[in-house]
């Protein structure tokens, strides 16, 4: 059974606006969460992480929010740029090594 879910397979956003990508998980033991970005024909690239002791982590235009009670995390990209167009995966772990990934959300940022 899939423990990390990204229910939106795709998202289209206008350049300059906010992109919000969502992720839900089922295992309450997960305490580390990451977002990866993937371009076609490339491997996933680490973007941003958050541990369960925080509810927000910010890095430039990227902010990850964690709602532990709802078992939900989201990635906000502000402002969105055409170069942000990629597939975004969320991942979760309880041991730093074995990560459970979602199925990805394809973001398209329109110029």
């Amino acid at each position: 059974d899939q423990q990390v879910k990204q229910n939106s397979p795709s998202l289209s956003v206008q350049e300059g606006r906010i992109s919000i990508l969502n992720c839900d998980y089922t295992n309450s033991m997960f305490d580390y969460f990451l977002w990866y970005k993937k371009y076609p024909a490339e491997g996933p690239t680490f973007l941003i992480s958050i541990s369960s002791i925080k509810d927000k982590n910010e890095d430039g235009r990227f902010t990850v929010f964690l709602n532990k009670s709802a078992k939900h995390l989201s990635l906000h990209i502000v402002p969105s740029q055409p170069g942000d167009s990629a597939v975004y995966f969320c991942a979760a772990s309880d041991d730093f090594n074995k990560f459970y990934f979602g199925s990805g959300t394809k973001l398209n940022v329109k110029p």
Binding site: Y36, F46, F89, A91, N97, Y100, S103
Partner: protein
């Protein structure tokens, strides 16, 4: 510094044949991971090496899959015999610091197609 490399980039084989995928981690990275993504679904963990030892192989689908990392450098993943459902993209990742959540570096993947 060279990143994680994988060979081949694509492989097309017939059901019942054998295929061996190779991963060269970033030099000095003791941790090596194999993942698989099938048909646009989630990326699934297969196994984790620490140097030449299998730390966690709980994600390996069945005994048709064999991973090795002799000498603790590059790793191979052999599928024998291959079945249709083995088709997908196989990713390798490596990290230097155990437990550093932001330091799994992924290779570009090997796309395996079983006909």
């Amino acid at each position: 510094e060279a990143g994680v490399t994988q060979f081949p980039s694509h492989s097309v084989i017939e059901k019942g044949q054998t295929v061996t995928l190779r991963c060269d981690p970033i030099s000095g990275h003791d941790n090596l991971y194999w993942y698989r993504r099938v048909m646009g679904k989630e990326i699934k963990f297969l196994l984790h090496f620490v140097k030449e030892s299998k730390q966690d192989e709980s994600g390996m689908p069945n005994n048709r899959f064999l991973a090795e990392r002799t000498g603790g450098t590059y790793s191979t993943l052999k599928v024998q015999p291959a079945e249709l459902e083995d088709s997908g993209v196989y990713f390798c990742a490596s990290s230097q610091v155990p437990g550093a959540v932001n330091e799994q570096f992924f290779g570009p993947g090997t796309r395996l197609t079983v006909l």
